[in-house]
Amino acid sequence: MGILISRDSRVLVQGITGRDGSFHTKSMKEYGTNIVAGVTPGRGGNKVDDIPVFNTVSEAVEKTGADVSVIFVPSGFASDAIYEAADSNISVIVAITEGIPVLDMVSIMRFIEGKDCRLIGPNCPGLITPAECKVGILPSAIFKKGNIGVVSRSGTLTYEIVSHITRAGFGQSTALGIGGDPVIGTRFVDLLELFRNDPETEAVVLIGEIGGSDEETAADYIKETDYPLPVFSFIAGKTAPEGKRMGHAGAIISGGSGTASGKIEALEDAGVRIAEIPSDIGKFLKEEFDGA
């Protein structure tokens, strides 16, 4: 179980013949992900790791029944790759690519409106339902099957916190990075909703960072809907200076908004316990579930 992906997912890799695409296809396949097809225009008819490659997404979907697509296409071409996946009845699109223009994302979000299709990312590490399916670039070894839902705006910070969760003796139902850009396909609130309806998820760890107001929106949602699961959170960027973009395009404090303290205050007000440092998350889970 878990959310969005499972052992039944039929995964397509867009940009499968590229450097990153081929490397991570191998890693996903080793993890047990059911990769049914790849797409690289002009390379149709070839195979990568025994996986058939097609020229177009629609052909790949028609021939293999793919329903999840992961995009490794370079930034100049990635926008169209997302449109193409959405146009071909893919239900979960995971865009790993970094550097997609924000106004392209604005148009893409308009395009997928009303379609039965969910976009994760862009500029994200993807997602994993441990012991079932991995779609993206996350390091497999740190994950363990379990009941903690993990959602994050970051990549490696997710790994850091997941390793604390696993070390504390807990596993993950599904863990995912939603991306560090200003306009992204899926936000904290969407995932809180999905985790709430997943019978396997017993608690949610929400990893936020400075910039935007997604954490505040999540706090409102938790408060207003009387969220039934315990939520724990860590917010990165408490010491970041104002006006500087900290790596992620979305991670910037401007005009006093988007600060870590504002987010922490909103989440605490909604009853979310905030970790001072990443290892606190492991301690919180032990206290919650083991009475430690």
Partner: protein
Amino acid sequence: MKIHEYQAKEIFVKAGIPVSNEGVATTPEEADRIAEKIGLPVVIKAQVHVGGRGKAGGVKIAKTRDEVREIASQILGMDIKGLKVKKVLVGEVVDIEKEIYLGVVTDRDSNRPVIMVSSEGGIDIEEVAKKTPEKIHRLQVDPAYGLLTHQAMKLAFSLFDDIKIVSATASILRKLYIAYVDSDASLAEINPFVLTKNGELYALDAKIVLDDNGLFRHPDLEKLRELTPEEEIEQEAKEKGLSYISLNGNIGCIVNGAGLAMTTMDVINHFGGVPANFLDVGGSSDPQKVKDALHFILLDKQVKSIWLNIFGGITRCDDIATGLVEAVSELKINLPIVVRLIGTNEEKGKRILDESRLDIYSVETMEEGAKVAIKVAGGGE
């Protein structure tokens, strides 16, 4: 990326938005020649990438040719919030009847461009939003259709009564939206947009912020990039695939991933230390990047210890270790180095470090790394 007022106005002029008569000068003599052409009095405005230049004395009116030269030489070379003024805009002084705010911004909550207009022009829109939010009118634009005429008209009717002026303003709003889309901006703003006593409409000031991700399709706009000495180092790092920001502390950090890099700074602070920088080596695995990163850390003479905090995913620990070993011998680094390597190819990476017999502090966790880095830098608790 920020661009100057006069550069934003060039984009507006191309889009068909009326701009008052003006020119750019880098010397008092040039300013004088422009004033001669335009006619006195003129307004002289500093061109810098920060707000609040008016309060800092960077905007003044000159009534005589002598005053033009005097004021221009005063403003040129002036320091506004740490930035040197190298250019001034010399423009005609217009008789203002009404000042308006017009803006387009990408709204990350709705995933839509949002048009904002307000009858309270000429002051900071954030101020208006705080004090009199009812005076701001907003409209979400459907990117599939752009800003439609009746939508622009409705916004313009909230500003003016005269139908001629309303129509002209609506037309300018639509051009502003097109300029924003065509330049891949994240913000395009006219503040103030003025109605003169003669009934003319002008963009008196202009601000455009460009989306860095979109610049690859606008080489002409990329050329407008102007950097402060601090930003030059950041830009140089960016060209090497590193995201680097210099801060005030003494612990040099090298981390993979932006979120983890921010957290590394936070954890150092948590234990009483101060980071010297934010540095994200990015997601790829290239020993050269570690060398480049160390090069930037060493430029900062305040650094007393170096901490590599790597959680391997795409990044492989053995590549990081190889880069570190090579860099230490090439760059002759004498500072204490703390290393935490975990994740993909961790064992291989640790073996490379062991075999190199480098004098480093190897740590297992982030907390331990922060404590050791603070201690060997000679600070903290």
